[in-house]
């Protein structure tokens, strides 16, 4: 078991930011995927707790990766040749949020929610490999449908789409108020009759 941990660490180091799936590691270790995942989780926890360690095992998307610990970010920045790449603009982030929560979705649908043209943010997100075309909608003109890519999960540190922060329940609230209103409206009707 100790040996397997050592091998896993070697594999993860070699894979770098390409990462490895539990399946890939299981095949090399000749273990079941379940056993491999258990081992990975145990290692991830141990490493995280160990204050002398500066790495951590993360899983963004399907891949497990060896990455630097968050709290050491500033020290890495000190040696970094270039500043971090530009973060996304507000327009791009809004567009991405709408696509992420409604995928697959057409540009027109995104524009209806945002209330503005959205060609440019969509071009930016495509160029960044965060969204991709996912077929065509069954609607007049057969517009392109957009969905997020695995790179989206990676870029936002998410394991899967289900990890997206829940949307504020704005509509539910509106619905509740509507129900309340109709309740009162019906009462008023009852009183009249």
């Amino acid at each position: 078991m100790m040996r397997n941990k050592s091998i896993i660490e070697s594999l993860l180091l070699a894979a770098g930011d390409e990462g490895l799936t539990a399946d890939q590691m299981a095949a090399v270790l000749e273990m079941s995927t379940e056993e491999t995942v258990t081992l990975l989780e145990e290692m991830a926890e141990d490493i995280l707790q160990d204050e002398t360690r500066g790495v951590m095992i993360t899983s963004f998307g399907m891949e497990y990766r060896l990455m630097t610990k968050k709290e050491n970010a500033e020290f890495i920045e000190r040696l970094a040749e270039k500043p971090s790449p530009k973060t996304l603009s507000q327009a791009a982030l809004e567009t991405l949020a709408i696509i992420a929560y409604n995928q697959p979705v057409t540009r027109i649908e995104v524009e209806e929610i945002r209330g503005v043209k959205t060609e440019r943010p969509i071009a930016t997100l495509s160029a960044r490999g965060l969204i991709e075309e996912a077929g065509r909608a069954d609607a007049p003109g057969r517009p392109i449908l957009y969905a997020t890519t695995p790179e989206f999960l990676d870029a936002f540190g998410l394991k899967e789409l289900a990890e997206l922060p829940p949307l504020e329940e704005g509509e539910a609230t509106a619905q509740q108020e509507a129900d309340l209103f109709f309740g009162r409206f019906e009462e008023a009707l009852d009183e009249q009759s």
Binding site: P85, A97, G115, T149
Partner: protein, 244 residues
């Protein structure tokens, strides 16, 4: 190149309206049509005074607001039940759109936080030799896969080597490099990949290393082996162990 100027940091008429609603401390479910319309128009007029290109969406919204305002000024003498059921209050429709937009605006803020947190962790490039063996079968990749890989690469940190080229140059000598190479090979139990002997991108260093390897080969200090054409070269310490 031409850029359409965005109105402030507002992402469109809905964003502007949300801002005004917040500023005026208005209930989103009970928007005072006259007040919001006046504020909104003042904003748009100012933009026009500044001779800025006002995106058409802002003008469409202005028209909607004006219609809403004039309706609110009409006495509601005819509001019998049927009209009431058929015709939605335009303020409700607006509130619904604003609320929906607001949800995604907030989600965008959360995404931004996630993006910043993610930018704090780094990995390293994958080893050159991984996964390059399957050069057959149909290609199932898209341009988005390529762009994604490219982004992954741009997120990687390149840590700077200090600009000490001049200091280093003094240290460069074939002899010293030969010693270093022998040390490396001796400490390694197994053969070392030829490429790994060349750990610098600086031409001087590469040349010195290469000369050192040639010299060591000549002296039978090292053996270079290869398993076939184009296979990797491996270097091992030679049988001639006379350094001590």
């Amino acid at each position: 190149m031409e850029y359409k100027v965005k109105i402030d940091s507002f992402e469109g008429p809905l964003d502007l309206l949300l801002h005004l609603i917040q500023q005026l401390e208005i209930d989103i479910y009970d928007i005072p049509a006259a007040e919001i319309t006046n504020q909104y128009l003042m904003y748009v007029n100012t933009m026009q005074q500044l001779e800025l290109d006002v995106a058409s969406e802002y003008l469409v919204m202005a028209a909607t607001l004006i219609a809403m305002k004039s309706r609110s000024l009409l006495p509601d003498h005819e509001s019998d039940e049927e009209d009431f059921m058929d015709e939605e209050d335009p303020r409700e429709e607006l509130a619904r759109r604003l609320l929906e937009y607001k949800r995604y605006k907030e989600a965008a803020e959360k995404l931004h936080e996630l993006e910043e947190e993610r930018a704090k962790v780094h990995s390293r490039p994958p080893a050159d030799k991984l996964f390059e063996s399957n050069a057959e079968g149909p290609l199932h990749v898209s341009i988005f896969d390529m762009l994604g890989a490219f982004q992954k690469m741009t997120r990687r940190k390149k840590l700077a080597v200090p600009p000490k080229a001049t200091v280093r140059r003094e240290e460069l000598s074939v002899e010293k490099r030969m010693h270093a190479l022998k040390e490396k090979l001796r400490s390694a139990q197994s053969p070392i990949l030829f490429d790994d002997l060349f750990d610098s991108h600086e031409r001087d260093e590469l040349v010195i290393s290469f000369l050192a390897v040639l010299e060591l080969m000549k002296q039978n200090e090292i053996v270079v082996s290869q398993n076939g054409n184009f296979a990797d070269l491996y270097v091992t310490a030679g049988g001639n162990d006379d350094e001590k």
